[in-house]
Symmetry: C2
Subunit: 503 residues, 2 copies
């Protein structure tokens, strides 16, 4: 190390005059790095503030300030008449920089992680990524083009005009009472569920709710019935709590309870989507509902009812909720505003059986601080002022129209290639490819043409029938029509290619 009259040689520290950090903060940071890396040794003298200021092209006060900061941090010390030194206090058994090999779950870090978290991370299913812009066939995306932006912005502005003590403090851990009450009114009127606001808990979206439910109810190794194919995010949350997933097949009445009992009679929890099975779209039959509730009651198991898009039915009556016929307090109902309103809102809710509500309250009171108060309050106003009912009704018409567009366009452009099942609920439907197509090949070829398709197998945990899940919610009719036509052209090209290959 070069020494010179002014103290240790300090390599020029790069200072960025456009950075939001002051020059002295940047100097502190550079010097700290030199000291901690051992580049400046314990006891070594630093240049005088005048010298360093000159070398770095900064004012002397900048250096003095930096030295003061490092002194207060205990990294350097000054003695009158002897200048500034790297502190001898540093000459203790301090850690050396970590070896850079330490990385990832398989490395040295693994033993210092929770076993449950390591186990879980090896089992996670890749979640569907949401495209930045809406496109035809994408699943689980609401019609952003139809969301009443101006109304929402107005309610938001009204919220922030309220007295500050109403809007700035901590919200209750279980959620704002006004939102919980509004949810009970909505559930009573639209989903046949009678509950009190005390049984409603607000979460940062349904996924957050699944995480907390899993933690509260499951022991590692507990058997959990999962619909196959089924929802991916919920499955990952339950895996995180150590669940041993039991894939139970879905037929045209919903989850096959008899098969579930055969596979795992000692199940502790069943995860179901009764109003509209995700992703196949089947509504659970009344008989199957009572079968499931009876099985849960006999086995002492819980049932999570994920009612992710139960608000949307396009003809006749809405499919009832399992919760509305749950007389033995087995069903934990989970709702979300991500689909009815918009995904970025991040608000979901749980209606717990009263006995479980006591426990959720206790856990929430000790370990949660609630979701952002503004989002909760604005959503509560949206419901209370009647906009929610209007919005749902309006969106029903819009989704019905988009569903019809998909169905009609498929009839015109996909005949004999891809049979699109009609549906009266939800955001998506099943497409069955003609026998000579391989679904994964179609998905890959379509992607090259900018067409996003999801194979049913993406949602599967055990083998399932081949096919596609086609969303119809995200874009206007004209865009759906165009995409169907384009898909038809691609499929016909693929048929010709196959014939040519055979010829």
């Amino acid at each position: 190390m070069v020494k010179y009259a002014g103290g240790a040689f300090i390599p020029t520290i790069e200072l960025d005059r456009k950075s939001p950090g002051s020059l002295s903060a940047q100097l502190v940071s550079g010097l700290r790095r030199l000291i901690l890396s051992g580049h400046l040794a314990v006891g070594q003298r630093l240049p005088s503030s005048r010298t360093l200021a000159h070398d770095q092209g900064v004012s002397r006060i900048t250096v003095v300030t930096a030295y003061e900061q490092l002194t207060s941090e205990g990294l350097i010390a000054s003695r009158v008449g002897a200048g500034t030194y790297v502190s001898v206090a540093l000459d203790i058994d301090r850690p050396l920089p970590a070896p850079k090999s330490f990385s990832g779950l398989s490395g040295a870090a693994a033993p210092r992680l929770a076993r449950l978290s390591v186990d879980a991370s090896e089992q996670y299913f890749p979640r569907l990524s949401h495209p930045e812009a809406p496109c035809a066939f994408v699943t689980g995306m609401s019609a952003n083009d139809q969301f009443p932006m101006a109304l929402w912005a107005r309610l938001s502005a009204q919220y922030w005009r309220q007295p500050r003590n109403l809007v700035l403090g901590y919200p209750p851990a279980e959620g704002l009472y006004s939102l919980r009450r509004a949810i009970t009114m909505h559930l009573q009127a639209n989903r046949g569920i009678s509950c009190s606001p005390e049984d409603v808990f607000i979460f940062n979206g349904a996924q957050h709710a699944f995480n907390r439910i899993g933690q509260t109810l499951l022991n590692p190794g507990d058997k959990v019935w999962i619909e196959n194919p089924g929802a991916i995010g919920a499955r990952n949350s339950l895996i995180s709590s150590g669940a041993d997933l039991v894939p139970v097949p879905v037929d045209d009445e919903g989850i096959d309870v008899a098969e579930g009992l055969r596979l795992s009679p000692d199940f502790r929890l069943a995860f179901v989507t009764p109003a509209r099975q995700h992703p196949l779209g089947v509504t659970m039959s009344p008989g199957r509902r009572f079968e499931l509730l009876g099985a849960a009651d006999r086995c002492g198991a819980w049932v999570i009812e994920d009612d992710y898009d139960g608000e949307f039915h396009y003809s006749g009556h809405p499919a009832a909720t399992l919760k509305s016929v749950d007389t033995s307090d087995r069903v934990i109902y989970v709702g979300t505003f991500s689909k009815v309103m918009f995904a970025a809102l991040r608000l979901g809710y749980v209606v717990a059986p009263p006995a479980l509500a006591q426990i959720f309250r206790r856990v929430a009171g000790a370990t949660m601080q609630g979701s952002p108060a503004s989002m909760q309050a604005i959503m509560a106003s949206f419901i209370e002022q009647g906009h929610f009912t209007t919005h749902i009704r309006r969106m029903r018409r819009i989704y019905a129209e988009r569903q019809k567009t998909l169905s009609d366009a498929a009839g015109r452009h996909l005949k004999g290639l891809l049979e699109v099942a009609p549906t009266t609920t939800g955001f998506q439907t099943v497409g069955r490819l003609a026998p000579d197509f391989n679904d994964l090949e179609v998905v890959a070829r379509a992607a090259k043409h900018g067409i996003v398709l999801s194979p049913i197998s993406r949602f599967a945990i055990a083998p399932v029938e081949r096919g596609l899940i086609l969303g119809f919610s995200a874009v206007p009719p004209a865009a759906i029509e165009t995409a169907v036509e384009k898909l038809g052209r691609l499929l016909r090209t693929m048929v010709v290619e196959k014939q040519q290959a055979l010829a």
Copy 2:
């Protein structure tokens, strides 16, 4: 059961014409209850729609709609010429209503809950409740009266004027990139931490971060060093992951590392508040910092640094962060906007060591859907546009003034009764009562006079010195002065009472 020509006798169902639920939805709900409770038996005939409409005073179409809904739910069925019956499909092995004794953790529910969650719920510490309106001496509450409401409302309004596809979709699980980048800039400039946005994770507040860190790192029974006295919420989160808490005493240099090593040399995690110990207010000395990092490195333990109010120092230099001198990637830094901005915002963040960041990303990608995009984006703008730096600087002046008011007023009104320690950082300080006072008695008496006081023991897990924690952040100087004067009068009254009791 009374039978009459029109079918089974249906007791009048109460209908609320002002309820948001339609009359037919209310009728469905009432009939559903009667059927599920067994009040209407399987196979029993229901009154004709005309009869029920007459009895209930509603239109016939209301009853027809209700019957259609119940039919679609499988609860009733119609046969041409024979009317409407309670469905025989219900005559299966369906659960009976739950016995009402099932309640609470100690009851029959316990075996059906996660052991970890039952164990944890027995150990939780009561969290401080936040009063609805700010008051003197309350702890951990920022100066809502000084928050720039108009500026925040303006940024919020700007946010909602953006193109809908930018604001409505799912945010990334780890948080918006713009906020993570803004946080790195803030940490570099103000907290001496160099990190990349890839190492920053946004949570729904610091408490949410503690929950997820505990789940990712801890196995049940792992020893965790906790400052005694110390933060309550974080402690509960770590208990939830099965941590075996080891209370480590705090002296005037911070956590007593030597004592920690004596009590539990095999610790896996240490939870510390280095910039300003919560609640005692001590800044961890440089020597103690290196001792802690060295111990963590040797033992393969992690360190959570909770920097809850590190931004606020009122003279000289800010206390450095432990993260800024962590050369062995042991420190998980947790910051929050609840104190610097406002509590209802519900945004906190973690800076993870790079190796751990990989794992956090994996867990977040599989099981999280992110915090509300609007809150994140507005906060990012607040930082990027320089308002955050201005706000912190302004709040430092305000808190310095409030601290001085408390200190001066205590000198005038509390001499010989309660010695208030001066402080140059944070939101609160320690008050030491004269020897003849019992702290808990003072807190109870003060509460009767509307004065909120926190004994140090509220934050303790093992015995601690007696005393009070006095917040000075929540209300303007005049209110602090008044409260101190009132407290002085109360303490003097208590002295007189004691003397009279002795006489």
